[in-house]
Chain length 325, copies 2
């Protein structure tokens, strides 16, 4: 096993060596642009690591690992368009830098390019790899659709919310891990355990992300505190607050989340007062820890991975969850 | 061999039996809607027919054939969005019936569903089938991008235009034929001949489509004559006219295609006068016939198909080209 930074280096080099057709450049320039925006490359790293944790070879897993990163970036291009987001990693999003049609079409071709990379797996694994990939791709679309539906939905349950972040965020992390396990010839049981580890860790990660928006250290977190509240976003915190609120608090929350005439600082501080009264921070931490513990249980049950390997996975999990806690 | 109508029936039944996940219905309703709008289903029919023209079995080729139809409909959903078209087969387009995000995401999931269907091919053919599909999918994206670029381009050559319609329209027809040949265990040479047959026929078809817009019988064609001229669309006719025009005609064409103050009937009739003076109808027919003849040459060179089979393909080609001539 190598240090994580080496896997990251492999991925970065792999991305730089990806060749796109040169024409029409209006189609492939945005692909190049998006792939070079950087990021932690956590998904392909998970695939490489998982492959090596079993009997696999990271070099042989590189193409499918890059497929997962290209897929992730495809979904970002289209999500940014659908959400009308103007910035991604501090740079203009594709539809902002170019236009709507370019974002649609360059995203489409990225999805095809991801499938191209998947064709690099050993032939006897191709069908299984594609089944895993297709299932995950559909889940990501389903999660994004649910997220959009929730925006205008009157009532969303915590259970629905957990399902949505499972599909939208956790599925792809889980699929990256399982893809590596599959390429490393892991047993079916270990593949499933690693998948469930990924779902739980991905869910814990998203819950933590929600928590940081209201309770993070803004200097470390890099975003202003309360952004989700200001944007009326339904998060674990909001939904838990509605669940626990008494009649009066519920009415006030509803008023706050539909008020147009309120200063944003005032709105955030009044919502936070209710959060505090309901101990939302503690409840959210408990939910996060519960998903985290589920992940650790899966990790411990894995049969084909050394203790050293489990420690590496645990360290990644810890890092994902506790970043800027 | 069976009559074409039987292949069409097989395809229609196959489409009706396609199962989509039930949730979230906001994602899959538009998929169902789009797939049920009908159309000639020419692409999957070509795959089934090509498979049976060789040693293949149409039933065994059904899933990949449906994959081509789902892909085609994916591209229509996204093209309609990019071109801001409001009607498709007389019904509201997906982004009109729903909205932009739904059209993006339902289109995306259709592309994944196409790959799902491709997994139904025999395992030993899977990689080849996917390579063919990926290549065609990229070509379709590239053709659509070129088409959009041409809209605002000052100068487009006839050669560039032929390349564009080859990528945007002819590639998929050619890929459907080659897919069938591949599934029918055709020789590599016959696969390539059938592919080239498809490219030539697809190109002839698009040139004929351009011709009908200006010289068709509007009562049979179902569209008003001169729609392309009214919309300043660059077609084979426009580009040929610019190529053949003398200084004065070129200046007048440029004026006509940038005038805002001209009544549309007047604009069409004045452009048509120039077309007539330059014998654009004859030139376009010659181009169409030249592509058609290329296709027939490929057809005659095929080794693994009976004369009866070649006659069926020739009849389809004839039908595609001469519809409402």
């Amino acid at each position: 096993l190598r240090p994580l930074s080496e896997y990251q280096k492999l991925v970065e080099e792999g991305i730089q060596q990806l060749k796109y057709p040169s024409r029409p450049h209006q189609l492939y320039d945005p692909v190049q642009y998006m792939m070079s925006l950087g990021g932690k490359r956590i998904r392909p790293v998970l695939t490489l690591l998982a492959a090596e944790l079993f009997a696999g070879d990271a070099a042989a897993a590189l193409k499918p690992a890059l497929a997962m990163e290209v897929f992730h970036n495809f979904s970002l291009v289209h999500d940014d368009l659908m959400d009308n987001a103007s910035l991604r990693r501090g740079k203009p999003t594709v539809h902002t830098q170019w236009n709507m049609p370019t974002a649609v079409l360059s995203g489409d071709v990225m999805l095809v390019l991801a499938y191209d990379l998947l064709l690099g797996v050993p032939t006897h694994l191709l069908k299984e790899v594609l089944e895993l990939f297709n299932q995950s791709a559909k889940h990501v679309c389903e999660g994004q659709q649910m997220d959009m539906v929730f925006e205008s939905a009157e009532e969303v349950s915590l259970q629905q919310y957990i399902e949505m972040i499972g599909l939208k965020t956790a599925t792809l992390l889980a699929a990256c891990l399982k893809m590596g396990a599959l390429l490393g010839n892991a047993s079916y049981e270990d593949q499933e355990l690693l998948y469930r580890f990924g779902i739980s860790i991905g869910t814990a990660f998203q819950v933590q992300d929600d928590l940081l928006d209201s309770y993070g250290d803004s200097s470390k977190f890099g975003k202003a505190i309360g952004g989700d509240i200001a944007a009326n976003k339904k998060t674990y915190l909001t939904l838990k607050a509605f669940e626990l609120a008494d009649e009066g608090q519920r009415t006030e929350l509803q008023k706050l989340f539909s008020a147009n005439d309120l200063k944003v600082e005032k709105k955030i501080s009044r919502v936070m007062d209710i959060y505090n009264a309901l101990e939302i921070k503690r409840h959210t931490e408990e939910a996060r820890d519960s998903f985290y513990n589920e992940a650790m249980e899966c990790l411990h049950s894995l049969k084909g991975i050394s203790d050293e390997g489990k420690k590496m996975l645990a360290a990644i999990a810890e890092d994902l969850i506790s970043r800027q806690k």
